[in-house]
Symmetry: D2
Subunit: 425 residues, 4 copies
Amino acid sequence: MTADDLVTLRRDLHRKPEPAWREFYTTARIVDELESRLGDDLAELHVGPEAIAGDHRLAVPEETEFTHWYEQARDAGVDDATLERLDGGYTGAVAVLERGEGPTVGLRVDIDGLPQTESDDPSHRPVAEGFRSDHEGAMHACGHDAHATIGIGVLERIAESDFAGTFKVFFQPAEEVVGGGKAMAESDHLQDVDSLLAVHIGLDHPTGEIVAGIDGFLAVSHLEAEFTGASSHAGGHPEQGRNAVQAMATAVQNLYGIPRHNDGATRVNAGVVEGGSAANVIPAEARIVAEVRGETTDLMEYMKGRTRQVLRSAAAMHDCEVEIEIGAEAPSATSDEELVSIVADVAGETPGVERVLERDELGGSEDATYLMQAVQENGGSACYVGVGTDHPGGHHTATFDVDEASIQHGIDTLAGTIERLGHDQ
Amino acid sequence: MTADDLVTLRRDLHRKPEPAWREFYTTARIVDELESRLGDDLAELHVGPEAIAGDHRLAVPEETEFTHWYEQARDAGVDDATLERLDGGYTGAVAVLERGEGPTVGLRVDIDGLPQTESDDPSHRPVAEGFRSDHEGAMHACGHDAHATIGIGVLERIAESDFAGTFKVFFQPAEEVVGGGKAMAESDHLQDVDSLLAVHIGLDHPTGEIVAGIDGFLAVSHLEAEFTGASSHAGGHPEQGRNAVQAMATAVQNLYGIPRHNDGATRVNAGVVEGGSAANVIPAEARIVAEVRGETTDLMEYMKGRTRQVLRSAAAMHDCEVEIEIGAEAPSATSDEELVSIVADVAGETPGVERVLERDELGGSEDATYLMQAVQENGGSACYVGVGTDHPGGHHTATFDVDEASIQHGIDTLAGTIERLGHDQ
Amino acid sequence: MTADDLVTLRRDLHRKPEPAWREFYTTARIVDELESRLGDDLAELHVGPEAIAGDHRLAVPEETEFTHWYEQARDAGVDDATLERLDGGYTGAVAVLERGEGPTVGLRVDIDGLPQTESDDPSHRPVAEGFRSDHEGAMHACGHDAHATIGIGVLERIAESDFAGTFKVFFQPAEEVVGGGKAMAESDHLQDVDSLLAVHIGLDHPTGEIVAGIDGFLAVSHLEAEFTGASSHAGGHPEQGRNAVQAMATAVQNLYGIPRHNDGATRVNAGVVEGGSAANVIPAEARIVAEVRGETTDLMEYMKGRTRQVLRSAAAMHDCEVEIEIGAEAPSATSDEELVSIVADVAGETPGVERVLERDELGGSEDATYLMQAVQENGGSACYVGVGTDHPGGHHTATFDVDEASIQHGIDTLAGTIERLGHDQ
Amino acid sequence: MTADDLVTLRRDLHRKPEPAWREFYTTARIVDELESRLGDDLAELHVGPEAIAGDHRLAVPEETEFTHWYEQARDAGVDDATLERLDGGYTGAVAVLERGEGPTVGLRVDIDGLPQTESDDPSHRPVAEGFRSDHEGAMHACGHDAHATIGIGVLERIAESDFAGTFKVFFQPAEEVVGGGKAMAESDHLQDVDSLLAVHIGLDHPTGEIVAGIDGFLAVSHLEAEFTGASSHAGGHPEQGRNAVQAMATAVQNLYGIPRHNDGATRVNAGVVEGGSAANVIPAEARIVAEVRGETTDLMEYMKGRTRQVLRSAAAMHDCEVEIEIGAEAPSATSDEELVSIVADVAGETPGVERVLERDELGGSEDATYLMQAVQENGGSACYVGVGTDHPGGHHTATFDVDEASIQHGIDTLAGTIERLGHDQ
């Protein structure tokens, strides 16, 4: 792909951001691009339910949420045959090249957008150059448009190289809700992967910088607690109520007070709360949407256990019931040294790359860790690569954008690494 | 009015419940009924902005809330001239009889419905007999349809009697949100009232029982607190957030812990809470809708003062701002002994009344207290009368209904009392 | 007894205040006074273990607490024979007059002092006139010195009167810790009492005022909760601790938040808390000494039930155990109308009494209610009489004192009432 | 010193553990030992007020706490002249060797015991071999007896070596209360130190293991908060109280909820709390003794700032005052690479040392960091060395003991390092 091709593709995807499990247009566009560029070179192309283990999808929205996005993709020209394959929120794709004897190497890129309204400031480049989001309220504010583009670029490069072995690209949906990683990790396609690469652009690193191996993924778990008590008239019979808001407040206070842990960083957040119906009614219902994180999966499990205990005791204290639902989760993971040094080596020779950092910490969460962990448990190795890009706004903000020059840096570094893996082993 | 007339009128009002400040149909129907029944006997008939002190309306909804109810009233046949008088949520009416030398006596009845869906159970009489609410989601679940009917019935009775003096009926809007009492109390119409009666049906008293003087109104104040902090990524930078949900939870815990008071009963309730935007974002916004009550107005003020202090300190603790808005309020009040004994006397002689209780406690709040207080401060006396009625469901529940026989008990007791006031003095 | 005798006796007792269950000198002094004044007129004089049901003593201090007070009483001249009868904290006395056929009337007075240091201000009359407490840190700051004096004065008066029946005076120990009432109520001496009077001086009523029947005793229960968790190094392994102070703080926050009750006043107080061992150790132990009260015994039980629930849930939340011990308790009680009106009548004729209040509310707790309740359950009647006295400082404060003139008012009113009971029935 | 000498000295110190700022016997014993072993070889020997900057002592106990330990030291044979130099809690010593041209090297050892009762189990070696603590309730449970012994052993070794330069040993008092480090760091003796070594025995490393450079000291600060409100009768006038225990509980709940920080580990602990006077009194006083820690000094300051904010807001919420006193503090620190590698090198050649770890994390706090920081700020370098020892019980527990063989490992490794510093530079 020429530099222009990369920009065109990335901008097309940027215009059509789709949130988790609703990547209908995006998946179709990727499939089209792969078929037109690689055609018969592709040994396999798995789409939607064939690409993922559907039962392991997490954070899938209500059925009613799909229709709008489904119709919109059809309006944007996606053909019905493709759309039907994705129906019900089975998005994503896995593309496979078979190039003879050699290791099986995987590359994971994520493809979903965010529920964020894009800036309409004339100085925001997507506005200035006409590729701002067509989907009001949705935005590629984390660079997954560039990730998908990199995935296709690397596939083409490997197809043209003398790489020996099998190469798979995992176009993963629903990363932003920690929803798609597990479904992809549980699919058959990952079982035989010897080396897995994942990639993220930006992360506060400037254009020209490559981080060979990113670590410090916080394992994460979402929880939702529904407290149920009984309402009563707040003036007439306060004692007859079983106050769900008191239970919720007691829980919030104590959730943030879960002891810090000597083994490493932990996090907890009661991110959304609500409860009650009217000023003069003792509240019978309240809800907390929370998340916990840990520097290791064990630390996350520690936080999850203590969170349940707090929620249950707070309910019991105020004579309420509580139902706790565990939502999306992702484990922690570490980049393997052997892959990190190959990436670092290759990056050092990549044109435009001026600085290579061996390691850096993410400090957030990512469900690529599901895939990394699965490969590592099978005896393979994994590495999460950071590709610097000048980004005017922070990740997940309205003015995020990428420096499109860095897309080539990502393709070169990853393809170079994969080629080396297909020679050396 | 014949028994049939009373039932017909009450059922028509029951079919068209309208919430606070949206009593367009109800006000118009009352005006029609008064004009057709009393015609020139009415010395004055003040409607909408002429009936109330508009600036003192409390808990007025947003402009946009009116349209639906306004149009609906028009569709139900209310003429444009009347509707225009009520435009912008100026509802209610004051009707005046002038009957020569004598005291000025007032009767206050409230007319609004509740945001409650009425039962559609076939055994619910309004269903069985075809007068269930036409307005899905709204309901006369507190008997104000009967109160309005009583108001008209008493007017007609006094018009036909040899009562000497001036008699005014206050058809008050927006009682359910503690919103209309103050506006009516501040109007000129109340200034010259020597004796004020107010009435409520039900209150767990059966048909055939009259409570001559109800006391124990808790003074009440609604408060709304908006906490504003700053969001941050809950995994990446929890320390950069200023957590409005922590502030809110701290406040809730401490609101319920405001010390009990030796001077009498107090209440506090955080009836509605909400905050935050997503599991992985430190919440920047949170809200509490609360109310406090006191057995006396002073006790309510004590609770209000402590509530402010808790809210402000909880905000400061978590580096948040808080904006506190005082909403609707009503004072406490007491029924005057001289009126209570006249009512008790008259009730004892009223056909169908089998039991008269001198006094009972309401244990809730009511903004009739604004009118009672105003009259008492002017040197007049006031009395809140309870008219028993068998009600299958509790007040404010979907199966509430009244025994229509009790409407006549109310009219007889009140009219009898008023007549006596117009003779004895 | 002459006015001088009364003052001398009261001042002697005032100089020797003894806290609950340590009234060694006080009991001995009462016994001496009774024996010297009444001698053979006394049908029975029960002392210490014979006066009370020892197994029902509440809030008894540790054995080691007795020695100091025991020795001090010996040093003050109490003979060994008497002291031995009181050994181990069995204090108090019951004196009985038998005067032929007639009702059995009881009078209960309490005799213990408080752990309060008496003012040494020269303007404090006990200082000025030389009868300030000899026992530094203890004080008759609630008038029980006057009560004991009244008890003896009434006995002498009845002995000299033509009262027909049996008259008993209950000199009750340990009222201040709600400790002696139950033990006296469970003794045999109360079983046959037809009418019981109890008396309190002061209570914010001035000299010359008598309250014929005091009500509004709050039922009270003391609770002690011991939280046990596990300590750990607060820097090294905070996660290994099970934090008893966090459990305690959660409990305190929620105790004060127990819902108010529509049936009447309730109270809760975490009066003493402590926990932890060092700044750098996660606390393994914490303790709350709390009390709950209710306008009725049921309301107190409601508070007690909710308190247990809060304590247990707070412990569970922080992985701690909690042991809850119920301490001293007293029920609520009401003065019977028939006795109240006799007292009011008599008081109205008593020299020096200028104002008689039929009823007033105590608003606190008193374990005389155990005796009142026991008599009432046996079909008898009971009445708690208030004797006004000008007191410069509030009850339980360092400058409390009584106007000694009121002692005679108490004797006259009570003796007059008892005489009337011994004639009329 | 022979192996026997080392054991004899260490056991003598073990028998006489003295808590912070009361190391009268210990200081005297060190002075004696130094004078008898080194005599005129010592260029300087600073004792008590001359060894430390007295104004910078932290966590100094009340005057009354000294007497017992002072007298006990006299009884143990310390001469009055020496004792007088230490009067008022000025303990510790600095010994100086001057050996010509060369760098100034320092060694810091701490000398205080702990308020911990030593095990009397016959299997506890100090019991079995007769050197259990003579001071009931105090114990060398952290190995400072061995540290002092190592300090003297190294001094003797350097005196006998061909080290060129100046060598100082800092016998630091009051480490356990984070009290002596600052006073020693602020003394003149540290100003010219080019290289500073500190040493700790044990830390879960077995005999034969040396950690060349320990890092991960958590900066620490102690805080004490006194809440003052107003008491009132909990039954009679709960509303008149200003409840210091409610303020304290609100603070505790929110202290543990201070947000975690992305820059590294933080800690908070409300280690001791107390409040209130009696079950029936609204508590007017409450106290929290807390500590905060941070992986860096900045993180500790962050926690301290938030702690103040929580304490103040909790007081304001309940109408109380709060006085906050900052107690002992210690910064964080890092071992310098250049020293670490010398220590590692030397340790590798030390007889008995089987394993050398380049680095390890302490995970706790230490006020040696004051000295390390001071030296590093002056341009020098510092290193904290861990000397493994088999210890049957954990640090700060009743069965802690050291394997005396490791004392020689410490002396050899430290003396070897110091000699090399006195040659190479």
